[in-house]
């Protein structure tokens, strides 16, 4: 730390300031404090002179602080002069003389209660607009599907196969693993608790009915929403950001037909397939645990299973699967198209996509439960 950045001396009615050292960005913090302190001395003096001869380095930060000082004094009717500033730094001071003349735009901070009410209202409106956006997307997809049925040659098979590979085929290992573990856990819990009253064998009923009716399809749908739904939203969102969607539209293609329809159809097909594989893995996991932990041999497990479950249980699970695929696809694509210019909005929409599709999948499952109960399935 070399020379003092700013020293002051009061001579009669004249305040003499001497500046030195580096008036640069790296010293801006200390400099600002000094300038603040010196401006407090000002009322005592009629005129002020600032001697800049000792300054070695000078940049826009220094120039602005000097300008702020002189501007403040000139505003209160005192005379301020700057002396000893090297010729080549005068341009910089002149540049700073012109800036920050108009007051910065004020950001309106509203009444907190009004802001809160506005936020609540906006959330409600958002919920409503979400429903509208989803139904719009459903309509657009149905329309595109009809067009494709009329002219099947325009359907994008290559894209469909590629998406199927990503969404279904590549998801098989992780889906098998997760559902296998879930089946094993249900079986273990069933045996553990049923054993207390000697009804271990009923754990097979538990595993069979639960997996085929509810857990299999639900776990798979949640996995797919997290795995493929999020990637749909991110893909379509970043295509929107980079104007690829607009480019498609101007070339006479319907983005719904080109990008969204194949993706949604793939989900509708992939979900039942994955649900079937997942349910089988869960039954296998349950059987393995029943054998190793519960002492129920595979023969008994299978014969008990055929008694406990019927085709209806299997159908209930499988019927639900394509609808869940549809919901996940619609939500993911609709949220993707709502992405705006910033990286932040891409993140927000992807989160929304996953949260909303998992929520809707569970709601849909509940509605199906009511429906199947009322028709006696």
């Amino acid at each position: 730390m070399g020379e003092a950045l700013l020293t002051h001396r009061l001579v009669g009615e004249r305040l003499e300031l001497a500046a030195g050292g580096s008036w640069t960005a790296s010293h801006a913090g200390e400099l600002e404090a000094l300038v603040e302190r010196v401006s407090g001395e000002a009322p005592k003096a009629k005129n002020v002179s600032i001697d800049m001869a000792g300054v070695r380095e000078f940049d826009t930060f220094g120039a602005w602080l000097l300008e702020r000082l002189t501007r403040q004094w000139t505003a209160s009717g005192q005379k301020a002069e700057v002396v000893g500033l090297p010729e080549h730094d005068r341009g910089l001071l002149k540049e700073m003389h012109g800036v920050n003349r108009e007051p910065p735009p004020k950001l309106q901070a509203g009444n907190p209660i009004v802001t809160f009410l506005a936020a609540v209202g906006r959330a409600g409106a958002d919920f409503g607009s979400n429903l509208i956006v989803f139904s719009e997307m459903l309509g657009a997809v149905s329309l595109a599907l009809l067009r494709v049925i009329v002219r099947p040659r325009e359907y994008r098979f290559t894209s469909t196969v590629h998406q199927f590979d990503r969404v279904a085929w590549q998801a098989v290992p992780i889906i098998l693993l997760i559902t296998f573990l879930i089946g094993a856990i249900i079986s273990q819990q069933g045996i553990f608790h049923f054993r207390k009253f000697g009804a271990e064998l009923y754990s097979v009923d538990l595993v069979g009915i639960l997996v085929l009716r509810e857990i299999g399809v639900l776990i798979v749908a949640i996995m797919v929403a997290g795995r493929s739904g999020s990637s749909y939203t991110a893909e379509i969102g970043s295509m929107k950001m980079r104007e690829e969607i607009d480019a498609l539209r101007t070339m006479g293609f319907d983005p719904v037909e080109v990008l969204i329809l194949p993706r949604i159809l793939v989900l509708i097909v992939a979900l039942p397939v994955l649900t079937f594989l997942g349910s089988m893995a869960a039954l296998y996991g349950g059987g393995l645990v029943a054998w190793l932990y519960g002492g129920i041999s595979p023969d008994i497990y299978i014969s008990r299973l055929t008694e406990a479950i019927s085709l209806t249980h299997f159908e209930v699970g499988m019927i639900k699967a394509p609808f869940m695929g549809l919901v996940i696809g619609i939500v993911a694509c609709a949220e993707g198209l709502r992405v705006k210019g910033s990286a932040e909005s891409l993140g927000i929409q992807t989160t929304n996509s996953v949260v909303e599709s998992i929520f809707l999948v569970i709601v849909l499952d509940g509605l199906f439960a009511i429906f199947f109960a009322s028709i006696g399935m």
């Binding site: 930060f61 012109g98 800036v99």
Partner: protein, 259 residues
Amino acid sequence: MTEKNAVIRVRDLVVGFGDVTVLDHLDLDVREAEILGVVGASGAGKSVLLRTIIGLLPRRHGTIEVLGVDMAKSNEAERRALERRWGILFQQGALFSSLTVKQNVQFPMRENLEISQRLMDEMALAKLEMVGLTPQDGEKFPSELSGGMTKRVALARALALDPEILFLDEPTSGLDPISAGDFDELIRTLQQTLEITVFMVTHDLESLYTACDRIAVLADGKVVADGPIAAMLESEHPWVKTYFQGKRGGMLAERQMSA
């Protein structure tokens, strides 16, 4: 013009990706307080050179010295100190999309300086005014800006800490000729008031004529010609000849001579 000392000294630089060698034993000096324009065909390695100097790309061989610091031998702290002394304008602006214009300009200040919010606001607005924007623009988000404004904001951010060296990667690409001309002039005035050294990668012949003190031509991984515009017009290197005396270059050269 007196010979000034070099602020960037590149010696025997080799950079490549896989089997491709982009820069092949390249030597280059950038002198204090000059505007150096780097030109070359697309794919000649101009942006690679820039990105290698600022340390975004690894080099295979050679030394790079910036402001007397050898990039290879410097440690983390020295590098960070060095990074505060240069500002970079990326080709696409590279503004942070979740921050407003003002916050973008304040970002380097907030991270590197200990100054009050008031001074930070004042400095950000001052920088925005220096690059020709209004305080109202400060509240906008990058997605609401036009191409020219994005470049200006990016320049204001590059200038946030009053750097000694300014790297510009195709500053006028994507701008209409009038905005490009204004931008060249802006760079020229800022360079003179702030006394910075400018390293500019460009394709724009007009920029070379109006803004640059010295031009370096990249071809075949080397600097094949360097000097002021007059030297370029006399060069015998085939690419330099076509570039400066071709259809577009020739017209500008004539206009320059008659003016």
